[in-house]
């Protein structure tokens, strides 16, 4: 996440997105189409993970883009467009969850539970064997199901961090939370996901014991 080439690519993407947003605001239909095509899947992915209802997620994604186009005149091009759009999507999904009375209360301090070595739970990145690849795919399937068991705030943090590759500061901006809270949410979410992997008998720790 912190290598220079990745940061450079993200900066270029952000610049291109801001240019597209400005062109769309000035009335370019092509820019509007490109914005929709570029962000429809990430926006849908975030909302679908949050509301866990594919049909409702499509409706809310559509609402998100309608709100985005209506508010495009207020967009500040010096800010990252994706963060601005994800914030609209997140708020739209959270409003829908509140209407369904899904609890969004702050997590308790005792959620930390027993300490887990997160690094030891994960597969060894250096391994590139077919067995390691099969193991990683199996773990991905477990994680896919495990994400849906997380509380909504944790799901949002995981998706924004690991699917959309947002920085911690950007996630805080999108969710309207303090930076420390975002880090806490992500840590707890990873711990719960690691527990699912361990319970499924997956991960380096369960296969060959703790790493040195």
């Amino acid at each position: 996440m912190s290598d220079p080439s990745h940061r450079g690519r993200r900066a270029l993407d952000a610049e291109r997105d801001a240019d597209l947003a400005v062109a769309a605001r000035q009335g370019s239909g092509d820019a509007c189409t490109l914005l929709v095509r570029r962000f429809e899947r990430p926006v849908y992915n975030l909302i679908a993970r949050l509301v866990q209802d594919p049909g409702r997620a499509e409706e809310l994604a559509q609402d998100t883009f309608l709100k985005m186009f209506r508010a495009l005149g207020q967009y500040d091009p010096s800010l990252r467009f994706s963060s601005w759009l994800f914030r609209i999507a997140h708020n739209t999904a959270v409003d829908a969850l509140r209407q369904r009375q899904v609890p969004l209360a702050a997590p308790r301090a005792d959620e930390d539970g027993e300490p887990i070595d997160l690094l030891a739970t994960l597969p060894d990145l250096a391994q590139d064997s077919p067995e390691a690849g099969a193991m990683r795919r199996q773990m991905a399937q477990v994680l896919d199901r495990a994400i849906d068991t997380l509380r909504p705030e944790y799901r949002a943090v995981v998706v924004l961090r690991h699917h959309e590759e947002l920085e911690y500061e950007e996630i805080a901006e999108v969710m309207g939370l303090p930076l420390g809270t975002v880090k806490t949410y992500l840590h707890r979410a990873r711990r719960q996901l690691a527990t699912h992997l361990r319970d499924a008998g997956l991960g380096a720790e369960t296969r060959s014991g703790p790493r040195p």
């Binding site: 996440m1 899947r41 849908y44 883009f65 209506r70 690991h162």
Partner: protein, 156 residues
């Protein structure tokens, strides 16, 4: 040159990022893009020039439609309804149209224009000669008429 010791936090980040990259994303239905584009198109910002073009085009189309449909409707009315009433309605509409077209014309604006033309004519030598010639001719005509009129009145 000392090698950088990897931060365990960075290794955790990279390990999770690598693993989560293989977790499938939620995907919308196949026709979602088309539906989304169609549903949001009405909210897309439009160019200011384009808005003016749309307004002018709509006005021209509406005017053309009115000019085309108007006579057709009048002719249809002549056949369908009472002919006398239809003719009266057409006449009234012309009166209304003339009144509407001349509503913006001010008598003072007409006087102003005439005054400006006269003033412009008088400020040039040729214009002054023509104007004085015109006035002299008119005076001669009036004088001649005043001599002729009493004789004619006496004859009557």
């Amino acid at each position: 040159m000392p090698s950088r010791v990897p931060d365990p936090g960075d290794r955790v980040e990279r390990a999770w990022q690598s693993l989560m990259a293989e977790v499938p994303r939620q995907r919308p239905s196949a026709d979602f893009t088309a539906r989304l584009l169609a549903a949001t198109r009405a909210e897309w910002p439009q160019r200011a020039g384009m808005r003016a073009e749309v307004a002018v085009t709509a006005g021209v189309v509406a005017g053309a439609a009115a000019l085309t449909l108007g006579p057709v409707l009048v002719i249809a009315a002549l056949f369908v309804f009472d002919t006398g009433a239809a003719v009266e309605a057409v006449a009234r509409s012309f009166v209304w149209l003339v009144g509407w077209l001349t509503a913006g014309v001010s008598i003072w604006e007409v006087f102003g224009r005439v005054g400006r033309i006269v003033a412009t004519a008088m400020t040039s030598p040729a214009g002054t000669v023509v104007l004085i010639g015109g006035i002299f001719t008119a005076w001669l005509a009036l004088a001649g008429l005043s001599r002729v009129m009493p004789i004619e009145q006496g004859d009557v």
